[in-house]
Amino acid sequence: MREIITFLRHNTLAVVGLVILLVLVGLITIGPSISPYTPTKLDILHKLEGPSFAHWLGTDAFGRDVLTRIMYGGRATLTIGVGVVAIAFVVGVFFGMLAGFAGGWIDNVIMRIVDAILAFPALVLAIALAAAFGPSLQNAMLAVAITLAPQFARVARSQALSISVKPYVEAAISLGLPTHRILLRYVFINGLGPLLVQSTLALGSAILQTASLGFLGLGAQPPLSEWGADVSSNLQYVRSAAWVALSPGMAILLAVLSFNLIGDSLADWMNPRRRSELR
Protein backbone atom coordinates (compact mmCIF):
# COMPACT_ATOMS: atom_id res chain seq x y z
CA MET A 1 0.00 0.00 0.00
CA ARG A 2 2.78 2.41 0.98
CA GLU A 3 4.52 1.54 -2.30
CA ILE A 4 1.37 2.48 -4.23
CA ILE A 5 1.07 5.84 -2.43
CA THR A 6 4.76 6.63 -3.09
CA PHE A 7 4.25 5.72 -6.75
CA LEU A 8 1.19 7.97 -7.08
CA ARG A 9 2.89 10.87 -5.26
CA HIS A 10 5.68 10.89 -7.84
CA ASN A 11 3.51 10.28 -10.89
CA THR A 12 0.98 13.01 -11.63
CA LEU A 13 0.10 11.44 -14.96
CA ALA A 14 -0.71 8.11 -13.29
CA VAL A 15 -3.05 9.96 -10.92
CA VAL A 16 -4.72 11.63 -13.91
CA GLY A 17 -5.12 8.21 -15.54
CA LEU A 18 -6.54 6.74 -12.35
CA VAL A 19 -9.03 9.61 -11.96
CA ILE A 20 -10.24 9.22 -15.58
CA LEU A 21 -10.58 5.48 -15.05
CA LEU A 22 -12.50 5.89 -11.77
CA VAL A 23 -14.88 8.42 -13.36
CA LEU A 24 -15.51 6.04 -16.28
CA VAL A 25 -16.03 3.06 -13.97
CA GLY A 26 -18.38 5.14 -11.80
CA LEU A 27 -20.26 6.25 -14.89
CA ILE A 28 -20.85 2.74 -16.17
CA THR A 29 -21.62 1.13 -12.80
CA ILE A 30 -23.76 3.78 -11.07
CA GLY A 31 -24.81 5.79 -14.16
CA PRO A 32 -27.40 3.40 -15.61
CA SER A 33 -29.34 3.29 -12.32
CA ILE A 34 -29.48 7.12 -12.13
CA SER A 35 -30.26 7.74 -15.81
CA PRO A 36 -34.00 8.16 -16.53
CA TYR A 37 -33.51 6.53 -19.97
CA THR A 38 -32.79 3.02 -21.22
CA PRO A 39 -30.23 2.35 -23.97
CA THR A 40 -32.78 0.81 -26.35
CA LYS A 41 -35.93 2.89 -25.76
CA LEU A 42 -36.91 4.62 -29.00
CA ASP A 43 -38.23 8.20 -29.04
CA ILE A 44 -38.56 9.23 -32.69
CA LEU A 45 -40.02 12.65 -31.78
CA HIS A 46 -36.70 13.64 -30.23
CA LYS A 47 -34.25 12.12 -32.72
CA LEU A 48 -30.82 13.68 -33.42
CA GLU A 49 -31.28 16.45 -30.85
CA GLY A 50 -28.17 18.33 -29.75
CA PRO A 51 -26.85 18.26 -26.20
CA SER A 52 -29.41 19.75 -23.78
CA PHE A 53 -30.33 19.62 -20.11
CA ALA A 54 -32.62 16.63 -20.71
CA HIS A 55 -30.08 14.80 -22.91
CA TRP A 56 -26.56 15.83 -21.87
CA LEU A 57 -24.91 14.32 -24.95
CA GLY A 58 -27.95 14.60 -27.24
CA THR A 59 -29.94 11.81 -28.86
CA ASP A 60 -29.22 9.46 -31.78
CA ALA A 61 -31.21 8.78 -34.96
CA PHE A 62 -33.75 6.72 -33.00
CA GLY A 63 -34.12 9.28 -30.22
CA ARG A 64 -32.10 7.16 -27.80
CA ASP A 65 -30.11 9.04 -25.15
CA VAL A 66 -26.44 9.04 -26.22
CA LEU A 67 -25.02 9.30 -22.68
CA THR A 68 -27.10 6.34 -21.48
CA ARG A 69 -25.94 4.30 -24.45
CA ILE A 70 -22.33 5.22 -23.61
CA MET A 71 -22.87 4.04 -20.01
CA TYR A 72 -24.21 0.67 -21.15
CA GLY A 73 -21.72 0.43 -24.02
CA GLY A 74 -18.91 1.06 -21.54
CA ARG A 75 -19.96 -2.01 -19.59
CA ALA A 76 -19.45 -4.08 -22.72
CA THR A 77 -16.23 -2.32 -23.75
CA LEU A 78 -14.49 -2.44 -20.35
CA THR A 79 -15.58 -6.03 -19.65
CA ILE A 80 -14.27 -6.98 -23.08
CA GLY A 81 -10.94 -5.28 -22.35
CA VAL A 82 -10.48 -7.08 -19.06
CA GLY A 83 -11.71 -10.40 -20.52
CA VAL A 84 -9.37 -10.20 -23.52
CA VAL A 85 -6.34 -9.39 -21.36
CA ALA A 86 -7.24 -12.19 -18.92
CA ILE A 87 -7.34 -14.77 -21.74
CA ALA A 88 -4.13 -13.41 -23.32
CA PHE A 89 -2.41 -13.33 -19.90
CA VAL A 90 -3.25 -16.93 -18.97
CA VAL A 91 -2.39 -18.39 -22.38
CA GLY A 92 0.65 -16.21 -23.01
CA VAL A 93 2.16 -16.57 -19.54
CA PHE A 94 1.61 -20.33 -19.49
CA PHE A 95 3.42 -20.92 -22.77
CA GLY A 96 6.05 -18.23 -22.12
CA MET A 97 6.98 -19.66 -18.70
CA LEU A 98 7.00 -23.17 -20.15
CA ALA A 99 9.32 -22.08 -22.97
CA GLY A 100 11.72 -20.23 -20.69
CA PHE A 101 11.80 -22.93 -18.01
CA ALA A 102 11.90 -26.03 -20.23
CA GLY A 103 14.26 -24.66 -22.90
CA GLY A 104 15.37 -26.93 -25.77
CA TRP A 105 12.92 -27.91 -28.50
CA ILE A 106 9.85 -26.90 -26.48
CA ASP A 107 11.23 -23.36 -26.25
CA ASN A 108 12.06 -23.40 -29.96
CA VAL A 109 8.63 -24.56 -31.11
CA ILE A 110 6.71 -22.16 -28.85
CA MET A 111 8.84 -19.15 -29.75
CA ARG A 112 8.62 -19.80 -33.52
CA ILE A 113 4.82 -19.83 -33.22
CA VAL A 114 5.03 -16.60 -31.22
CA ASP A 115 7.26 -15.08 -33.94
CA ALA A 116 4.79 -16.14 -36.63
CA ILE A 117 1.83 -14.53 -34.85
CA LEU A 118 3.90 -11.37 -34.34
CA ALA A 119 4.69 -11.36 -38.07
CA PHE A 120 1.13 -10.16 -38.68
CA PRO A 121 0.04 -6.60 -37.98
CA ALA A 122 -2.05 -7.28 -34.82
CA LEU A 123 -5.22 -5.66 -36.11
CA VAL A 124 -4.98 -7.42 -39.49
CA LEU A 125 -4.75 -10.84 -37.81
CA ALA A 126 -7.53 -9.99 -35.36
CA ILE A 127 -9.76 -8.89 -38.27
CA ALA A 128 -8.95 -12.01 -40.31
CA LEU A 129 -9.57 -14.34 -37.34
CA ALA A 130 -12.77 -12.58 -36.29
CA ALA A 131 -14.00 -12.78 -39.90
CA ALA A 132 -13.24 -16.52 -39.96
CA PHE A 133 -14.84 -17.26 -36.59
CA GLY A 134 -17.94 -15.27 -37.57
CA PRO A 135 -19.01 -11.81 -36.35
CA SER A 136 -19.85 -11.91 -32.64
CA LEU A 137 -18.53 -10.31 -29.47
CA GLN A 138 -17.07 -13.55 -28.08
CA ASN A 139 -15.25 -14.29 -31.34
CA ALA A 140 -13.87 -10.75 -31.51
CA MET A 141 -12.54 -11.13 -27.95
CA LEU A 142 -10.92 -14.46 -28.79
CA ALA A 143 -9.36 -13.00 -31.96
CA VAL A 144 -7.86 -10.02 -30.12
CA ALA A 145 -6.64 -12.27 -27.26
CA ILE A 146 -4.77 -14.45 -29.77
CA THR A 147 -2.92 -11.41 -31.12
CA LEU A 148 -2.05 -10.13 -27.61
CA ALA A 149 -0.93 -13.45 -26.06
CA PRO A 150 2.50 -13.52 -27.79
CA GLN A 151 3.53 -10.28 -26.04
CA PHE A 152 2.81 -11.89 -22.68
CA ALA A 153 4.63 -15.05 -23.78
CA ARG A 154 7.75 -13.01 -24.62
CA VAL A 155 7.81 -11.15 -21.28
CA ALA A 156 7.01 -14.35 -19.32
CA ARG A 157 9.75 -16.26 -21.12
CA SER A 158 12.43 -13.70 -20.37
CA GLN A 159 11.28 -13.58 -16.74
CA ALA A 160 11.38 -17.39 -16.53
CA LEU A 161 14.87 -17.45 -18.07
CA SER A 162 16.32 -15.04 -15.53
CA ILE A 163 14.45 -16.43 -12.52
CA SER A 164 15.02 -20.14 -13.18
CA VAL A 165 18.80 -19.74 -12.58
CA LYS A 166 18.28 -18.04 -9.19
CA PRO A 167 19.54 -20.03 -6.15
CA TYR A 168 16.07 -20.38 -4.62
CA VAL A 169 14.76 -22.08 -7.76
CA GLU A 170 17.80 -24.39 -7.84
CA ALA A 171 17.09 -25.19 -4.19
CA ALA A 172 13.45 -25.99 -4.98
CA ILE A 173 14.52 -28.25 -7.85
CA SER A 174 17.05 -30.10 -5.67
CA LEU A 175 14.37 -30.52 -2.98
CA GLY A 176 12.42 -32.44 -5.63
CA LEU A 177 9.37 -30.13 -5.83
CA PRO A 178 7.13 -30.92 -8.80
CA THR A 179 7.71 -28.68 -11.85
CA HIS A 180 4.25 -27.11 -11.85
CA ARG A 181 4.72 -25.99 -8.24
CA ILE A 182 8.13 -24.49 -8.96
CA LEU A 183 6.70 -22.66 -11.96
CA LEU A 184 3.71 -21.32 -10.05
CA ARG A 185 5.17 -20.59 -6.61
CA TYR A 186 8.62 -19.34 -7.53
CA VAL A 187 8.96 -18.43 -11.20
CA PHE A 188 5.48 -16.94 -11.75
CA ILE A 189 5.18 -15.05 -8.45
CA ASN A 190 8.64 -13.49 -8.77
CA GLY A 191 8.14 -12.53 -12.40
CA LEU A 192 4.73 -10.93 -11.81
CA GLY A 193 5.85 -7.24 -11.76
CA PRO A 194 6.71 -6.76 -15.45
CA LEU A 195 3.72 -8.92 -16.42
CA LEU A 196 1.36 -6.58 -14.54
CA VAL A 197 2.83 -3.55 -16.32
CA GLN A 198 2.37 -5.40 -19.61
CA SER A 199 -1.26 -6.13 -18.61
CA THR A 200 -2.04 -2.44 -17.98
CA LEU A 201 -0.62 -1.46 -21.36
CA ALA A 202 -2.36 -4.43 -23.02
CA LEU A 203 -5.72 -3.28 -21.60
CA GLY A 204 -5.40 -0.14 -23.71
CA SER A 205 -4.62 -2.06 -26.91
CA ALA A 206 -7.32 -4.66 -26.14
CA ILE A 207 -10.00 -1.96 -25.89
CA LEU A 208 -8.68 -0.16 -28.97
CA GLN A 209 -8.59 -3.33 -31.08
CA THR A 210 -11.96 -4.69 -30.00
CA ALA A 211 -13.49 -1.26 -30.61
CA SER A 212 -11.89 -1.28 -34.09
CA LEU A 213 -13.41 -4.72 -34.76
CA GLY A 214 -16.75 -3.39 -33.50
CA PHE A 215 -16.36 -0.38 -35.82
CA LEU A 216 -15.82 -2.74 -38.79
CA GLY A 217 -18.92 -4.75 -37.82
CA LEU A 218 -16.97 -7.75 -36.54
CA GLY A 219 -17.62 -7.27 -32.82
CA ALA A 220 -20.78 -6.65 -30.81
CA GLN A 221 -23.92 -7.09 -32.90
CA PRO A 222 -27.01 -4.83 -32.55
CA PRO A 223 -28.95 -4.09 -30.41
CA LEU A 224 -26.06 -4.61 -27.92
CA SER A 225 -24.37 -1.26 -27.28
CA GLU A 226 -20.58 -1.19 -27.67
CA TRP A 227 -18.54 1.97 -28.22
CA GLY A 228 -16.80 0.97 -31.49
CA ALA A 229 -20.02 -0.31 -33.05
CA ASP A 230 -21.87 2.81 -31.85
CA VAL A 231 -19.43 5.07 -33.73
CA SER A 232 -19.88 3.21 -37.01
CA SER A 233 -23.67 2.88 -36.74
CA ASN A 234 -23.90 6.69 -36.42
CA LEU A 235 -21.35 7.54 -39.12
CA GLN A 236 -23.97 8.75 -41.60
CA TYR A 237 -25.09 11.49 -39.19
CA VAL A 238 -21.58 12.78 -38.49
CA ARG A 239 -22.06 15.92 -40.61
CA SER A 240 -25.47 16.90 -39.24
CA ALA A 241 -25.14 15.60 -35.65
CA ALA A 242 -21.45 15.10 -34.87
CA TRP A 243 -21.99 14.33 -31.16
CA VAL A 244 -23.75 11.04 -31.93
CA ALA A 245 -20.69 9.42 -33.50
CA LEU A 246 -17.98 11.40 -31.70
CA SER A 247 -19.16 10.81 -28.10
CA PRO A 248 -18.64 7.02 -28.02
CA GLY A 249 -15.34 7.60 -29.86
CA MET A 250 -14.20 10.05 -27.18
CA ALA A 251 -15.20 7.49 -24.54
CA ILE A 252 -12.90 4.92 -26.19
CA LEU A 253 -10.09 7.50 -26.29
CA LEU A 254 -10.50 8.31 -22.57
CA ALA A 255 -10.62 4.64 -21.52
CA VAL A 256 -7.53 3.71 -23.54
CA LEU A 257 -5.73 6.88 -22.44
CA SER A 258 -6.37 6.12 -18.75
CA PHE A 259 -4.77 2.67 -19.02
CA ASN A 260 -1.86 4.02 -21.06
CA LEU A 261 -1.20 6.84 -18.55
CA ILE A 262 -1.11 4.34 -15.68
CA GLY A 263 0.84 1.68 -17.62
CA ASP A 264 3.37 4.16 -18.98
CA SER A 265 4.04 5.60 -15.52
CA LEU A 266 4.33 2.08 -14.05
CA ALA A 267 6.83 1.11 -16.75
CA ASP A 268 8.92 4.21 -15.94
CA TRP A 269 8.70 3.40 -12.23
CA MET A 270 9.96 -0.15 -12.80
CA ASN A 271 12.99 1.20 -14.68
CA PRO A 272 15.58 2.13 -11.99
CA ARG A 273 17.26 4.81 -14.09
CA ARG A 274 13.96 6.52 -14.96
CA ARG A 275 12.73 6.21 -11.37
CA SER A 276 15.63 8.26 -9.99
CA GLU A 277 14.68 10.96 -12.51
CA LEU A 278 11.11 11.05 -11.20
CA ARG A 279 11.96 11.34 -7.53
Partner: protein, 336 residues
Protein backbone atom coordinates in the same frame (compact mmCIF):
# COMPACT_ATOMS: atom_id res chain seq x y z
CA UNK B 1 26.39 -8.09 -46.89
CA UNK B 2 24.76 -10.47 -49.38
CA UNK B 3 25.45 -13.47 -47.13
CA UNK B 4 23.97 -11.57 -44.17
CA UNK B 5 20.73 -10.90 -46.08
CA UNK B 6 20.69 -14.53 -47.25
CA UNK B 7 21.08 -15.78 -43.65
CA UNK B 8 18.24 -13.51 -42.53
CA UNK B 9 16.04 -14.86 -45.31
CA UNK B 10 16.82 -18.47 -44.35
CA UNK B 11 16.00 -17.75 -40.69
CA UNK B 12 12.61 -16.51 -41.85
CA UNK B 13 11.62 -19.83 -43.46
CA UNK B 14 10.19 -21.53 -40.32
CA UNK B 15 8.33 -18.34 -39.34
CA UNK B 16 6.90 -17.88 -42.84
CA UNK B 17 5.87 -21.56 -42.87
CA UNK B 18 3.78 -21.03 -39.72
CA UNK B 19 2.42 -17.76 -41.17
CA UNK B 20 1.27 -19.73 -44.23
CA UNK B 21 -0.36 -22.38 -42.00
CA UNK B 22 -2.27 -19.64 -40.13
CA UNK B 23 -3.45 -17.92 -43.33
CA UNK B 24 -4.32 -21.31 -44.88
CA UNK B 25 -6.33 -22.25 -41.78
CA UNK B 26 -8.50 -19.11 -41.94
CA UNK B 27 -11.06 -20.76 -44.23
CA UNK B 28 -10.91 -23.97 -42.20
CA UNK B 29 -11.71 -22.05 -38.99
CA UNK B 30 -15.18 -21.15 -40.28
CA UNK B 31 -17.52 -23.06 -37.95
CA UNK B 32 -19.23 -26.08 -39.54
CA UNK B 33 -18.85 -26.78 -43.27
CA UNK B 34 -17.38 -23.53 -44.71
CA UNK B 35 -19.14 -24.05 -48.05
CA UNK B 36 -22.55 -24.45 -46.38
CA UNK B 37 -21.92 -21.46 -44.08
CA UNK B 38 -20.80 -19.23 -46.95
CA UNK B 39 -23.67 -20.11 -49.30
CA UNK B 40 -26.36 -19.78 -46.63
CA UNK B 41 -29.37 -22.02 -45.96
CA UNK B 42 -30.94 -21.88 -49.44
CA UNK B 43 -28.02 -23.50 -51.33
CA UNK B 44 -28.42 -26.66 -53.39
CA UNK B 45 -26.09 -29.65 -53.00
CA UNK B 46 -24.69 -28.87 -56.46
CA UNK B 47 -23.73 -25.30 -55.46
CA UNK B 48 -22.18 -26.57 -52.22
CA UNK B 49 -20.10 -29.17 -54.07
CA UNK B 50 -18.98 -26.55 -56.62
CA UNK B 51 -17.83 -24.15 -53.89
CA UNK B 52 -16.11 -26.97 -52.01
CA UNK B 53 -14.21 -27.76 -55.20
CA UNK B 54 -13.38 -24.08 -55.82
CA UNK B 55 -12.04 -23.67 -52.29
CA UNK B 56 -10.22 -27.00 -52.58
CA UNK B 57 -12.14 -28.33 -49.58
CA UNK B 58 -12.88 -31.71 -51.19
CA UNK B 59 -9.25 -32.83 -50.81
CA UNK B 60 -7.35 -34.18 -47.76
CA UNK B 61 -6.00 -31.27 -45.65
CA UNK B 62 -2.32 -31.96 -46.38
CA UNK B 63 -2.99 -31.92 -50.12
CA UNK B 64 -5.05 -28.73 -49.73
CA UNK B 65 -2.09 -27.06 -48.03
CA UNK B 66 0.39 -28.25 -50.67
CA UNK B 67 -1.89 -26.97 -53.43
CA UNK B 68 -2.21 -23.67 -51.62
CA UNK B 69 1.54 -23.19 -51.18
CA UNK B 70 2.34 -24.31 -54.74
CA UNK B 71 -0.32 -21.91 -56.01
CA UNK B 72 1.15 -19.04 -53.99
CA UNK B 73 4.63 -19.77 -55.36
CA UNK B 74 3.20 -19.36 -58.86
CA UNK B 75 1.45 -16.14 -57.89
CA UNK B 76 -1.95 -17.81 -57.62
CA UNK B 77 -3.87 -16.36 -54.64
CA UNK B 78 -7.17 -17.93 -55.71
CA UNK B 79 -10.26 -16.22 -57.10
CA UNK B 80 -12.61 -13.78 -55.43
CA UNK B 81 -15.93 -15.42 -54.50
CA UNK B 82 -17.69 -12.13 -55.18
CA UNK B 83 -16.27 -11.02 -58.53
CA UNK B 84 -14.55 -14.18 -59.78
CA UNK B 85 -11.40 -12.15 -60.56
CA UNK B 86 -7.93 -13.44 -59.58
CA UNK B 87 -7.07 -12.10 -56.11
CA UNK B 88 -3.37 -11.59 -56.95
CA UNK B 89 -4.18 -9.14 -59.77
CA UNK B 90 -6.71 -7.27 -57.65
CA UNK B 91 -4.14 -6.91 -54.86
CA UNK B 92 -1.40 -5.78 -57.27
CA UNK B 93 -3.57 -2.99 -58.69
CA UNK B 94 -4.38 -1.74 -55.17
CA UNK B 95 -0.97 -2.20 -53.57
CA UNK B 96 0.58 1.07 -54.88
CA UNK B 97 -2.18 3.11 -53.20
CA UNK B 98 -1.46 1.47 -49.83
CA UNK B 99 2.32 1.80 -50.23
CA UNK B 100 1.98 5.46 -51.28
CA UNK B 101 -0.12 6.18 -48.17
CA UNK B 102 2.02 4.27 -45.68
CA UNK B 103 5.37 5.55 -46.98
CA UNK B 104 4.10 9.15 -46.79
CA UNK B 105 2.86 8.46 -43.25
CA UNK B 106 6.26 7.09 -42.18
CA UNK B 107 8.05 10.13 -43.63
CA UNK B 108 5.67 12.58 -41.93
CA UNK B 109 5.94 10.67 -38.64
CA UNK B 110 9.75 10.86 -38.76
CA UNK B 111 9.71 14.57 -39.62
CA UNK B 112 7.51 15.34 -36.60
CA UNK B 113 8.34 12.54 -34.15
CA UNK B 114 12.13 12.74 -33.97
CA UNK B 115 12.50 16.53 -33.43
CA UNK B 116 9.76 16.45 -30.76
CA UNK B 117 11.57 13.61 -28.98
CA UNK B 118 14.92 15.44 -29.13
CA UNK B 119 13.48 18.73 -27.86
CA UNK B 120 11.78 16.89 -24.97
CA UNK B 121 15.00 15.12 -24.04
CA UNK B 122 17.04 18.32 -24.11
CA UNK B 123 14.79 19.82 -21.42
CA UNK B 124 13.47 16.85 -19.43
CA UNK B 125 10.56 17.56 -17.07
CA UNK B 126 10.01 21.01 -18.60
CA UNK B 127 6.53 22.17 -19.61
CA UNK B 128 7.32 21.31 -23.24
CA UNK B 129 8.36 17.80 -22.19
CA UNK B 130 5.14 17.24 -20.22
CA UNK B 131 2.96 18.56 -23.03
CA UNK B 132 4.63 16.33 -25.65
CA UNK B 133 4.45 13.33 -23.30
CA UNK B 134 0.69 13.77 -22.79
CA UNK B 135 0.29 14.56 -26.49
CA UNK B 136 2.09 11.38 -27.50
CA UNK B 137 0.03 9.28 -25.08
CA UNK B 138 -3.15 10.75 -26.55
CA UNK B 139 -1.81 9.99 -30.05
CA UNK B 140 -1.19 6.35 -29.10
CA UNK B 141 -4.59 6.02 -27.41
CA UNK B 142 -6.60 7.64 -30.21
CA UNK B 143 -8.71 5.21 -32.25
CA UNK B 144 -7.75 5.77 -35.91
CA UNK B 145 -11.42 6.06 -36.89
CA UNK B 146 -12.06 8.82 -34.33
CA UNK B 147 -9.12 10.95 -35.50
CA UNK B 148 -10.22 10.39 -39.10
CA UNK B 149 -13.76 11.55 -38.32
CA UNK B 150 -12.56 14.66 -36.47
CA UNK B 151 -10.18 15.64 -39.29
CA UNK B 152 -12.87 15.03 -41.93
CA UNK B 153 -15.29 17.13 -39.96
CA UNK B 154 -12.89 20.02 -39.33
CA UNK B 155 -10.87 20.21 -42.57
CA UNK B 156 -13.50 18.78 -44.92
CA UNK B 157 -16.94 19.82 -43.75
CA UNK B 158 -16.34 22.92 -41.59
CA UNK B 159 -13.36 24.60 -43.28
CA UNK B 160 -13.71 22.95 -46.69
CA UNK B 161 -9.94 23.01 -47.20
CA UNK B 162 -9.28 19.37 -48.05
CA UNK B 163 -11.06 16.50 -49.82
CA UNK B 164 -12.23 13.74 -47.47
CA UNK B 165 -12.50 10.71 -49.71
CA UNK B 166 -10.88 9.00 -52.68
CA UNK B 167 -7.44 9.31 -54.19
CA UNK B 168 -8.10 12.03 -56.73
CA UNK B 169 -10.97 14.28 -57.82
CA UNK B 170 -13.60 12.24 -59.63
CA UNK B 171 -13.35 14.32 -62.81
CA UNK B 172 -9.60 13.74 -63.11
CA UNK B 173 -7.80 10.71 -64.44
CA UNK B 174 -4.15 9.98 -64.84
CA UNK B 175 -2.46 7.49 -67.12
CA UNK B 176 -1.19 4.74 -64.76
CA UNK B 177 2.57 4.27 -65.17
CA UNK B 178 3.86 3.30 -61.73
CA UNK B 179 0.49 3.08 -59.96
CA UNK B 180 1.54 5.88 -57.58
CA UNK B 181 -0.89 8.70 -58.32
CA UNK B 182 1.41 11.64 -57.52
CA UNK B 183 4.34 10.18 -59.42
CA UNK B 184 2.17 9.25 -62.41
CA UNK B 185 0.75 12.77 -62.50
CA UNK B 186 4.26 14.25 -62.59
CA UNK B 187 5.60 11.73 -65.13
CA UNK B 188 2.73 12.26 -67.55
CA UNK B 189 2.91 16.02 -67.09
CA UNK B 190 -0.59 16.15 -65.61
CA UNK B 191 0.30 18.45 -62.72
CA UNK B 192 -3.34 19.22 -61.83
CA UNK B 193 -3.90 15.51 -61.20
CA UNK B 194 -0.70 15.29 -59.16
CA UNK B 195 -1.78 18.27 -57.04
CA UNK B 196 -5.21 16.72 -56.53
CA UNK B 197 -3.54 13.48 -55.44
CA UNK B 198 -1.41 15.39 -52.92
CA UNK B 199 -4.50 17.09 -51.48
CA UNK B 200 -6.33 13.77 -51.16
CA UNK B 201 -3.32 12.24 -49.46
CA UNK B 202 -3.02 14.78 -46.63
CA UNK B 203 -5.82 13.71 -44.25
CA UNK B 204 -5.34 9.91 -44.44
CA UNK B 205 -1.58 10.42 -44.06
CA UNK B 206 -2.14 12.58 -40.97
CA UNK B 207 -4.31 9.88 -39.37
CA UNK B 208 -1.78 7.12 -40.00
CA UNK B 209 1.23 9.26 -39.10
CA UNK B 210 -0.22 10.48 -35.78
CA UNK B 211 0.15 7.10 -34.12
CA UNK B 212 3.69 6.51 -35.39
CA UNK B 213 4.86 10.06 -34.63
CA UNK B 214 3.52 9.75 -31.07
CA UNK B 215 5.31 6.44 -30.44
CA UNK B 216 8.49 7.61 -32.11
CA UNK B 217 8.64 10.91 -30.21
CA UNK B 218 8.27 9.19 -26.88
CA UNK B 219 10.84 6.53 -27.78
CA UNK B 220 13.44 9.01 -29.04
CA UNK B 221 13.00 11.08 -25.88
CA UNK B 222 13.66 8.10 -23.61
CA UNK B 223 16.65 6.80 -25.61
CA UNK B 224 18.11 10.32 -25.83
CA UNK B 225 17.84 10.70 -22.05
CA UNK B 226 19.68 7.41 -21.56
CA UNK B 227 22.36 8.36 -24.09
CA UNK B 228 22.83 11.87 -22.67
CA UNK B 229 23.82 10.27 -19.35
CA UNK B 230 26.68 8.31 -20.96
CA UNK B 231 30.37 9.00 -20.34
CA UNK B 232 31.13 9.97 -23.94
CA UNK B 233 28.64 12.83 -23.69
CA UNK B 234 30.47 14.12 -20.63
CA UNK B 235 33.74 13.80 -22.55
CA UNK B 236 32.27 15.72 -25.48
CA UNK B 237 31.16 18.49 -23.13
CA UNK B 238 34.56 18.50 -21.39
CA UNK B 239 36.22 18.97 -24.79
CA UNK B 240 34.26 22.22 -24.96
CA UNK B 241 32.04 21.25 -27.88
CA UNK B 242 29.08 23.44 -28.62
CA UNK B 243 25.80 22.23 -27.01
CA UNK B 244 24.07 21.66 -30.36
CA UNK B 245 27.08 19.62 -31.50
CA UNK B 246 26.84 17.42 -28.41
CA UNK B 247 23.09 16.94 -28.76
CA UNK B 248 22.96 16.31 -32.50
CA UNK B 249 26.26 14.58 -33.32
CA UNK B 250 26.79 12.62 -30.13
CA UNK B 251 23.35 12.24 -28.57
CA UNK B 252 20.96 11.99 -31.52
CA UNK B 253 23.20 9.82 -33.70
CA UNK B 254 23.40 7.22 -30.98
CA UNK B 255 19.65 7.36 -30.31
CA UNK B 256 18.62 6.96 -33.93
CA UNK B 257 19.67 3.32 -34.33
CA UNK B 258 17.17 1.90 -31.83
CA UNK B 259 14.58 4.28 -33.30
CA UNK B 260 14.91 2.49 -36.65
CA UNK B 261 13.77 -0.75 -35.00
CA UNK B 262 10.75 1.02 -33.50
CA UNK B 263 9.84 2.53 -36.87
CA UNK B 264 10.00 -0.96 -38.40
CA UNK B 265 7.92 -2.58 -35.66
CA UNK B 266 5.32 0.16 -35.48
CA UNK B 267 5.06 0.20 -39.27
CA UNK B 268 3.27 -3.15 -38.90
CA UNK B 269 0.74 -1.75 -36.46
CA UNK B 270 0.28 1.17 -38.80
CA UNK B 271 -0.60 -1.22 -41.63
CA UNK B 272 -3.37 -2.56 -39.40
CA UNK B 273 -4.56 1.03 -38.99
CA UNK B 274 -4.52 1.34 -42.79
CA UNK B 275 -7.59 -0.92 -42.97
CA UNK B 276 -9.59 1.57 -40.88
CA UNK B 277 -8.09 4.66 -42.50
CA UNK B 278 -8.56 3.43 -46.07
CA UNK B 279 -12.13 2.41 -45.30
CA UNK B 280 -13.07 5.80 -43.85
CA UNK B 281 -11.33 7.85 -46.56
CA UNK B 282 -12.51 5.52 -49.38
CA UNK B 283 -8.83 5.08 -50.28
CA UNK B 284 -8.58 2.41 -52.98
CA UNK B 285 -5.82 0.31 -51.33
CA UNK B 286 -5.65 -3.24 -50.04
CA UNK B 287 -6.94 -2.24 -46.58
CA UNK B 288 -10.28 -1.18 -48.03
CA UNK B 289 -10.23 -4.23 -50.31
CA UNK B 290 -9.90 -6.42 -47.20
CA UNK B 291 -12.74 -4.56 -45.47
CA UNK B 292 -15.05 -5.11 -48.46
CA UNK B 293 -14.05 -8.78 -48.53
CA UNK B 294 -15.04 -9.10 -44.86
CA UNK B 295 -18.45 -7.60 -45.56
CA UNK B 296 -18.93 -10.06 -48.45
CA UNK B 297 -17.35 -13.01 -46.59
CA UNK B 298 -14.97 -13.32 -49.54
CA UNK B 299 -12.42 -15.64 -47.91
CA UNK B 300 -9.85 -16.00 -50.72
CA UNK B 301 -9.52 -12.18 -50.68
CA UNK B 302 -9.28 -12.09 -46.85
CA UNK B 303 -6.55 -14.75 -47.03
CA UNK B 304 -4.68 -12.97 -49.80
CA UNK B 305 -4.72 -9.53 -48.18
CA UNK B 306 -3.79 -10.96 -44.76
CA UNK B 307 -0.80 -12.69 -46.34
CA UNK B 308 0.28 -9.54 -48.18
CA UNK B 309 0.12 -7.50 -44.95
CA UNK B 310 2.29 -10.13 -43.22
CA UNK B 311 4.74 -10.15 -46.14
CA UNK B 312 5.00 -6.35 -46.07
CA UNK B 313 5.80 -6.52 -42.37
CA UNK B 314 8.40 -9.26 -42.76
CA UNK B 315 10.05 -7.36 -45.64
CA UNK B 316 10.17 -4.25 -43.45
CA UNK B 317 11.91 -6.18 -40.68
CA UNK B 318 14.56 -7.38 -43.17
CA UNK B 319 15.06 -3.82 -44.45
CA UNK B 320 15.44 -2.65 -40.83
CA UNK B 321 18.08 -5.32 -40.19
CA UNK B 322 20.01 -4.34 -43.30
CA UNK B 323 19.76 -0.63 -42.45
CA UNK B 324 21.09 -1.46 -39.00
CA UNK B 325 24.04 -3.13 -40.66
CA UNK B 326 24.67 -0.18 -42.95
CA UNK B 327 24.41 2.43 -40.18
CA UNK B 328 26.08 0.75 -37.21
CA UNK B 329 29.83 0.14 -37.72
CA UNK B 330 29.81 -2.55 -34.99
CA UNK B 331 27.10 -4.58 -36.72
CA UNK B 332 28.77 -3.97 -40.09
CA UNK B 333 32.02 -5.32 -38.72
CA UNK B 334 30.34 -8.44 -37.32
CA UNK B 335 28.62 -9.06 -40.64
CA UNK B 336 31.99 -9.28 -42.35
Amino acid sequence: MASFILRRLIALIPVMAIVLVIVFSLVRMIPGDPAVTLLGPGATQGQIDALRAQLDLDQPVVLQFLHYVLGLLQGDFGFSLKTGLPVANEILTRLPATIELSVCAVIVAIIFGIPLGVLSAVRPNSLFDHVTRVGSLIGVSMPAFLLALILQLVFGTMLGWLPVSGRMSSFMTVQPVTGFAILDGIITGNLYAAWSAVQHLILPTAVLAAFLAATLGRFVRNTMLDVMGEDFIRTARAKGLHNSDVVLNHGLRNSLLPAITVIGLKFAEMLGGAILTETIFAWPGIGRYMFEAIKNRDYPVIQGTTLVFALMFVLTSIIVDVLYGVLDPRVRHRMK
